[in-house]
Amino acid sequence: MSQENSVEALLEEARLNASIPPPAERQRLREAANLSRAQVAAAVGVGRTTVANWENGHSEPTPPGRLEYLRLLKGLAEIYPAAPAPAAIPEPTADLAPVPPAFVAAPETLRGPDGRAIEGDPGPCIRCGIETTYQSTDGRPLHSGAMCQPAGPAPAAPAASSPGATTPAAAPAAPAPVSPIPAPVPSRSERRARSAARAQADVSLLISRAVQEEAERAGGDEEAALKALIKRAIPDVMHLFNETRATARYDYTAYPALPDILKKPSKKDPDQIWEARPKFHHPGYSLRAPGEVKVTALDVNAAYLSALKCWLPIGKLEHHAGTDGVEPKRSGVHLITPAPWTHPHLPDPIGDRDEPGALWVTNSTLRLLQRLSGPKYGLTDAPVIHESWTSGATENFLDALRKLLGAARDEAIENNDMLTLEYVKAMYSKFISTMGESIHNREMVRPDWMHIIHSQAYANLWGKAYKAHQAGLDVVAMMGTDELHLTGDWRKVFPEGRGVAQMKIKHGDAKASGEYTVGTVGR
């Protein structure tokens, strides 16, 4: 019981603290009640000058007397609310008079002899207006402990419909107990969004601070600053990653036992995973053939950054035979035999694989293949899945990091800030390339993630090629992570720019870059 009371006392104190009026308001309240400072000081138990200091803002109310003073102010504020039109003041006072509970800090919860709150007929809470079965001591519905946030004038209407005896008084009284300056109370989702935004702002501050630090240290030498930033990109991005994981739901396994297929036979040799890197040249077009077909080489912006949104296995990969390991919420690597690709104009989503037969692909590639074999596309047959190494997966794993880096990138482009742009690029690309077995990043050993993100980038590129093809353009070439060569007016299909959803023209030394012409080859 006593513990319960002390909790109530703390809650009351917190409520009072939350509604402490500014110094000028303190004086106004006292003068409105026609009280002298000496009277207040005597009631609160401090000196008169102390009250004067509290009123003109020289000091803030401190413990001996603070609680009493706040309680007094709160009571006064309820009698003399700070209304924009002073004429309105007498009216609520008159209404309030017959309702003594309005003067105490908050209505008390009705409790049984055992100290537990008693439930009754459900009705809208007099504080927040949301339905509750708990009651206040005077029989009106009220959330237990009165911990709900007071609502605006809204509960006035539902209060009238509640069957309590005090209904006539409750209806006009309901708006009155609300604090004089009604603070906008965010809903839970709004609070979450706000705290997430704040957390993101905090973390993105790390990026700008790092850039600023190195720029200052280099003393105007941009090249030196960039070098220093790239050097610290890996530890920095790991720190950012851990920051974004701070309140995360899953704890990932950073050093899982790896299946043999993911182990590199030596430091230089690759493991057995086929990432489906594209290297496609349309057989119907040739640079050497005479002709006047205009082709534009396009570049996907920050392809690996976008690819951070992919299904990543959280824990250690587990082996399943057949199609057992293939589920929407699992990810990993799969041994499949892809169906033959016969489309005359679109690249094989499996990449330029010469060897026939089964191969280990990542979940990103498998998802693409399964999509393409589905009724919506119907471009190929479903691959045969032989075995899988998978774990429970989530698509949002690196999403916070992706958004963070993406926002920093957008801002850098807008401000024409080369340093930040290159720094962000180094962070996400090195994060991906060193998340496997690397001596440069020992914070995690997840080669499976690296492969999955790589092939997600290739799958995304394939999606862009498909989109262009659907719009009537021909895909002349699709190479690497981000290169797409298209005939015709590509601006109809893709917006031009440097944003992650946009495309830009790829310039380079190669013959097939920028805008060039090819000829058609008869087949």
Binding site: D251, T253, A254, Y255, P256, A257, L258, S266, K267, K268, G315, K316, E318, H319, I439, R442, E443, M444, V445
Partner: protein, 191 residues
């Protein structure tokens, strides 16, 4: 080895003793010449590493390379190539010496100025264990300090018993369930 998990695999759990995992994880920290000993580059690099110091000659001695100075000079001058047996001995001698030389650095990195290193311990793989025999084991992460000098020395001497004792010390800190982590599927750390 601690406790009741003596018969690993009795119920189809898969894993390795913690001592082995510890040795493997330390081993992974060692870097050195990447080129294989069969390549010209890798061989030359190993030979020059082994002939720079007295410790190198001792390492060759330990690895069982007993050749005349004349032959060694011929190898170094790339006039002759060691036969396959000697190449593998050279490789063994190189890694033996390399381990000894990096041990001090490893100790320093793992001790981290007395702060120790946070290690992730992943429990044995129970995916093939029958449901009623499965235990609810999660990945654990603990900070380990004070044992790294011993651990690196034991790893260098291939002293499995000592590594085992160290692993027991480490998992004691995991609480009442420490026993279940005598065997693990993998461990890892960033140092």
């Amino acid at each position: 080895m601690a406790g009741r998990w003596m018969d690993l695999g009795m119920f189809n759990a898969r894993g390795i003793p913690g001592a082995d995992a510890l040795g493997i994880a330390i081993e992974q920290m060692v870097t050195g010449i990447v080129s294989p000993v069969d390549s010209e580059r890798g061989l030359a690099a190993r030979l020059s590493y082994l002939t720079k110091t007295d410790a190198g000659y001792e390492a060759m001695d330990r690895a069982g390379i007993h050749v005349s100075p004349r032959t060694l000079m011929a190898w170094l001058a790339e006039e002759r190539i060691p036969n396959k047996a000697n190449r593998s001995r050279l490789d063994a001698a190189y890694w033996d010496l390399r381990r000894r030389n990096v041990a001090a650095d490893l100790k320093k990195r793992l001790n981290n100025n007395g702060r120790g290193t946070r290690i992730e311990i992943n429990p044995v793989d129970q995916s093939r264990v029958e449901g009623r025999h499965q235990r609810d084991l999660s990945s654990r992460s603990i900070n380990v300090r004070g044992v790294w000098d011993r651990a690196v020395d034991a790893w260098m001497d291939d002293d499995v018993a000592e590594l085992d004792a160290i692993w027991d010390d480490i998992i004691q800190d995991l609480g009442s369930e420490y026993d279940a982590y005598s065997n693990v599927s993998s461990i890892g750390w960033a140092a």
